[in-house]
């Protein structure tokens, strides 16, 4: 167990340290002065200088970098320049939307993928397989933010089943919130589910060609029993890789869809913060997103070992 885990853990730490440096550097070279953005273009030079001093932006970069990291280690994220509220508060609000949305989309996407992927693989080269794969190809091609627009037009505007956008807040009731998240989740899950379905199908078909499947059939297991007992677990390995990538992507890559639905999630928070040159918010949120990606990958690696006993012997 030790070498593999230790190695992975060191990589994880190194990635995070590297990410923090990259993010900080990017924010340094980002054109635009936070003070200027806050005060507006007609601010006097002296008031800009005063605000810069107040925000602590006049100190050397190295000092500010270590301040930031030091604060992070103590759980102190600092205050937003633009809104004057603690960054942790902003992040918390965004997470309350992004995390449930990501989970909901993931559930939808995996359900779609497994049902379609397995059904298509079981009916390999039959009409239903070809049709489903054509549909999934179409699903991959649709831009998710456009699909979001179409969903709003039809289900929110025409049928009025769901709100066209916005988020009520969890204190307004669980179902109301879920209701507001369903359309964005569908928009996100359609594309990801289509990709995952294709991977599931080709992975299952790949495993069906393995020698041990022939062994299972020679034992007298039926085609169906072979699928469930021998093929599925082996076929899940590439599927889980993609699932991990997709989950990481859902946490951060939903900026555009959030934008369509006016959801103040993580993505929108970063986008707004970049525009406001609210560098401290950007730094913290992007680092957090990078951490989530790395941790997801870490979890995927551990899942591999659970599924595939060969890995335990060599790598873990």
């Amino acid at each position: 167990m030790s070498v593999f885990l230790a190695k992975r853990f060191i990589t994880l730490l190194a990635t995070l340290i590297g990410a923090s440096i990259v993010i900080f550097t990017v924010m340094e070279i980002l054109p635009g002065d936070p003070a200027l953005v806050i005060l507006g273009v007609d601010a006097t030079e002296s008031s800009v200088a005063a605000l810069t001093k107040e925000l602590g932006l006049d100190r050397p970069p190295l000092e500010r970098y270590f301040d930031w990291i030091g604060g992070l280690l103590q759980g102190e994220l600092g205050n937003s320049y633009a809104y004057k509220v603690p960054v942790s508060e902003l992040v918390q609000g965004a997470l309350q939307i992004t995390v449930p949305l990501a989970i909901l989309s993931m559930i939808l996407s995996v359900t779609i993928a497994l049902v379609i992927g397995l059904y298509a693989a079981a009916n390999h080269n039959k009409a239903s397989d070809v049709t489903l794969m054509g549909v999934s190809q179409l699903g991959i091609s649709v831009p998710n933010f456009w699909l979001a627009v179409l969903l709003i037009l039809y289900f929110a505007v025409n049928l009025k089943w769901f709100p066209p956008g916005g988020f009520p807040g969890w204190d307004q009731g669980f179902w109301k919130c879920i209701n507001a998240l369903i359309l964005p989740a569908v928009a996100l899950a359609t594309v990801q589910g289509a990709i995952l379905a294709r991977i599931t199908r080709s992975s299952v078909l790949e495993v069906f060609r393995e020698d041990f499947v022939r062994t299972a059939r020679a034992k007298g297991l039926s085609q169906r029993a072979t699928l469930w007992l021998h093929v599925l677990r082996n076929a899940m390995i590439p599927v889980i890789t993609v699932m991990g990538l997709q989950f990481a992507n859902l946490l951060a890559g939903t900026v555009v869809v959030e934008n369509v639905f006016y959801l103040p999630g993580l993505g929108s928070t970063v986008l707004k913060a970049i525009n406001n040159r609210d560098t401290i918010v950007v730094e913290n949120v992007v680092l957090m997103l990078a951490a989530m990606v790395v941790i997801t990958n870490f979890v995927v690696d551990i899942l591999y070992a659970v599924i595939d006993p060969r890995l335990k012997a060599h790598d873990i």
Binding site: S2, V3, A6, H314
Partner: protein
């Protein structure tokens, strides 16, 4: 006495294994543990052993295709160990290789002409005309048509592909050809064609073969001398006739006995080996064959047997060679 084409002395190659825990001692695969032999000009030298005994590692080290830990390989009087790739290039015309898999050893995107001409790279610049002539000449000598140069490997059968591979090895007129299981991927009927070809080529060009195989019958047919390898060491070496008639190492005897004979009246008496190859990840005290040997005794666990002379040009690494050979002649 004809001259020596290849002289291998004390060749050692250990591969490091990935660490199992951070603080554990590094572990190695002991692939070659001091192998020595020499091959005379125009002779065939066979190397026999089961999978994982270090045969292929030996071939790669003789061909200078991977770094060698220690020892020396002298081909036509030139040391090849510890030479840089560019220093080796002009030497490579003297030693060429034929691989096991006739499908994997030919680049599917190159024409036969290009594949066969490849080793000429070692010679530096030569004219296109000379190149084409040599390709045609060498294709004819392995029984292919000189018009085949424009075709691609997938247009040929396994046996023909192996002929192409042999043509590639021959084109620089090398003095040594290292052949790593060149016929084991072929059908019996095609295998015989390739074996005969190898013999004919030796007769007409006087090439020297280092021939690696797990098939004793093939080695007996083709080779003047044989070395038997077990776990990275040569355990017996000698003229083919001597070694097959009176094996001086129990492993050789077991190998010979284990080959099924295609003849009526089955059931033969033989010693059967217990267990499987113990693996090459540990270096042990005593004889490497002690766990599986039917005649192992205490001495075998204490004392590592060295290669000793048991007859003219016949060496074996066993404490009990004499007894074994007596048994065989009796």
């Amino acid at each position: 006495m004809s001259k020596t084409v290849l002289k291998v002395t004390d060749l050692v190659r250990h591969y490091p294994l990935p660490k199992e825990s951070l603080f554990a001692k590094p572990r190695y695969v002991y692939a070659l543990n001091g192998v020595s032999f020499e091959i005379k000009e125009g002779k065939s030298f066979g190397i026999v052993g089961e999978s994982g005994c270090g045969k292929s590692t030996l071939a790669r080290n003789v061909m200078a295709l991977e770094p060698t830990d220690s020892g020396s390989v002298i081909i036509q009087g030139e040391e090849v160990v510890c030479k840089s790739f560019s220093e080796l290039r002009p030497l490579r015309q003297h030693f060429q290789m034929v691989f096991q898999d006739p499908y994997g050893s030919l680049d599917p995107h190159h024409t036969v002409g290009r594949i066969v001409a490849e080793p000429l790279a070692a010679l530096g610049k030569i004219s296109t005309e000379e190149k084409n002539n040599r390709v045609k000449e060498v294709l004819q000598s392995v029984g292919l048509k000189s018009t085949d140069t424009e075709k691609y490997p997938h247009e040929f059968s396994g046996g023909q592909r192996q002929r192409i591979a042999i043509a590639r090895a021959l084109i620089t007129r090398p003095s040594l050809i290292v052949a790593d299981e060149p016929v084991s991927a072929l059908d019996v009927s095609v295998q015989a064609q390739v074996l005969n070809l190898l013999k004919d080529l030796q007769d007409s060009f006087g090439v020297t073969y280092m021939f690696i195989s797990h098939d004793l019958a093939v080695v007996e047919y083709l080779c003047d001398e044989v070395a038997v390898m077990y776990l990275g060491s040569i355990v017996e070496k000698g003229r083919t006739e001597d070694l097959f008639k009176s094996p001086a190492h129990p492993y050789t005897k077991v190998l010979l006995d284990a080959v099924p004979k295609p003849a009526s009246g089955r059931k033969r008496e033989r010693i059967r080996l217990k267990g499987t190859v113990t693996g090459q990840t540990e270096q042990r005290i005593g004889c490497s064959f002690q766990d599986r040997c039917p005649m192992a005794q205490d001495r075998c666990r204490r004392e590592t047997p060295s290669l000793k002379k048991v007859g003219p040009e016949h060496l074996a690494a066993c404490h009990f060679s004499q007894e074994l050979m007596k048994e065989a002649t009796a």
